[in-house]
Symmetry: C2
Subunit: 355 residues, 2 copies
DNA sequence: TTGTAAGCGTTATCAG
DNA sequence: CTGATAACGCTTACAA
């Protein structure tokens, strides 16, 4: 049947069932105030007529969008490198779909455009809440979102806790995993452990860097170099080259994602170094490829889909007016594979900083 | 200012400007029928009052959602492996955002759920059009979408052309790139060229497989094995193992994506084979990591973001009632790097099929 | 050129 | 418990 056939509305159902539109609305949203028999009849008629709720009309009268926004600020070059989002979105959907909520997904080139996107989304009232990822130090977004009157859930806890009334968070502690990584390296006997990470403004970059530094300090080991990059494979390769050029190259490198670790691995191989015999490396994320490089990467696993699920749950709760929560999920944990081994025998004469 | 302040509506603007709501609407949508001076005044007042259009109200009265849907059927395990979508979505957005359209992005576990998602989206009239990816043979989706009364743009041309009135397509011919890959291998002297690809129901899997077979036939070379997998790194590794176990293993392997090629590379290395000296491999997609493995992967590049842009343009055109077009963008092209070389010297006695 | 009024399809209020 | 009636905020014939 072509779309010339007008949409069947609540009025049609009402007419056919011999009741008022209001009654139909009550029956359809199974709300008290309509006799059981009447309700049955209304429901039957609605089914017969093939009535479907109109999202648009509902939105207008309920002042609700039944949608949430996820906006991502990524340069075009970097956007494909991150395997996090599709999995995260899949997790979100497992709870959004049953609750008849949609996800507006936007990718913009930079953070300025990201803020603009939120402003527009709020001005047009296109969404009921927002998901904030890639938290940075002094991040302006939680405040902006709160000012715009929208609830938000951040991935990880912002550094200005409590400042913004309607902003909750769901966190997966990556410090635990990072510590496990560095400790496993220390235990294996490494004394020069470098860290290759992302831009320093990201909170999780800092957390992991601090975890790395903390374990080294506790073990009374010197901090080898910490290189800040842009998360890309190219940057991972570049950082690795640079580490190798040092007077005393590290015997182990911890990368803050698998992509950089894999790129780093290639550089090491090209330099004739065998992993893990000559040098150990670790990744982060536990992407599928991490299993399937040679050697398989020791890395840190985050339950991405579950993270998405919980974020969706909290967002739903927030739009119900519940006070924002700060949830901690199970921490990211070490996944031991084959890219870590004891360091090669130390060079003969060399006054190390190891005690 | 808290959200207690009621939203400023068109009526407020009208009152303040001393005109009717209708006039304001006309002025705001710069449509003829309102004097220049009046229009100015209305616009000024609207600016003063900080009026913002209400998407909900506009949606209802215009019977338009100002949104498109992209729904992805991917198992949780596979969803992260594909670097295509974030880049594609970024491309879509560069044209959707200026046109005030949003993208509803959904990831569902399988194709049944995907069809349900379209039905719901259409029933609720949540979107004005749909983007269809991963076209399969006898794909039920173009028909379904057409029956649901929605326009759609497919990525690549469906195999039942013209069957569905409002379905257009935007294609990037991957056959050209695939042919270039195989020809470069043939030119290098390879005579046993295998192909590792995805599930056979995908159209592009068939196209590429046929391109591979076609070049081999034209060169009067035997077709080595063609292995159908699920696109994953694990499957790529597994397929590679299997190819190596053959009586006469291939001297070159063409993978249908970079991820499988990288996983395959690791398997080859683990077997002590040097790429490209002992065996040549090629990928597809030209992901960032492809540059950064050792050796860098010869692959095929698709302009993903441009693809997204054009799809958005066509979708917009389709919702304007323009007849569906079938657009061909520039084909995917070979990117030569270092994973291809002539095959190792042929084993002494062996009657090759090369003429 | 401008104003009026009727949609768009629900939900919510408030007398009966 | 029921059923008019008025929002919700904008668009758009149709009059004036």
């Amino acid at each position: 049947m072509p779309d010339s056939a007008r949409r069947v509305t609540i009025a049609d159902v009402a007419a056919r069932a011999g009741v008022s539109a209001g009654a139909v609305s009550f029956a359809l949203n199974d709300r008290p105030g309509v006799a059981a028999a009447t309700r049955r009849r209304i429901l039957d008629v609605a089914g017969e007529l093939g009535w479907q709720p109109s999202h648009r009309a509902r939105s207008l009268s309920r002042s609700t969008s039944f949608a949430f926004a996820l906006v991502l600020a990524r340069s075009t070059e970097l956007v494909g490198a991150d395997p996090f989002f599709p999995a995260f979105v899949a997790g979100l959907n497992t709870v959004l779909v049953p609750h008849a909520r949609s996800l507006l997904f936007t990718v913009v080139p930079d953070t300025t455009a990201e803020l603009d996107a939120y402003r527009r989304l709020a001005a047009e009232q296109r969404v009921d809440g927002v998901i904030l990822t890639d938290l940075r130090a002094h991040d302006p977004r939680p405040r902006l979102i709160a000012d715009l009157g929208l609830p938000a859930i951040t991935l990880g806890r912002p550094d200005r806790p409590g400042a913004d009334r309607r902003v909750g968070s769901v966190s997966v502690d990556d410090v635990v995993g990072m510590r496990e990584v560095v400790r496993s390296l220390v235990t294996a006997g490494h004394a020069r452990i470098a860290h290759v990470t992302g831009p320093r403004e990201y909170l999780h970059v800092r957390h992991r860097r601090n975890a790395w530094a903390g374990v080294l300090d506790a073990a009374e080991l010197p901090r080898a170099e910490c290189l800040y990059t842009d998360f890309s494979a190219g940057a991972g390769a570049h950082a690795t080259e640079r580490l190798l050029r040092a007077d005393e190259p590290p015997t182990a490198i911890t990368y803050t994602n698998d992509v950089m670790a894999i790129a780093g691995l290639a550089v090491l191989q090209r330099h004739g170094l065998r992993v893990p015999h000559d040098i150990s490396i670790t990744g982060f994320d536990d992407t599928e490829l991490a299993h399937h490089v040679d050697p398989p990467l020791t890395t840190v696993r985050t339950a991405v889909a579950q993270w998405g699920e919980r974020v969706a749950v909290e967002l739903l709760a927030a739009t119900d007016g519940n006070p924002p929560q700060h949830i901690d999920l199970d921490p990211a944990r070490l996944v031991v594979r084959a890219s870590v081994a004891p360091p090669p025998a130390p060079r003969p004469a060399q006054k190390g900083t190891t005690r």
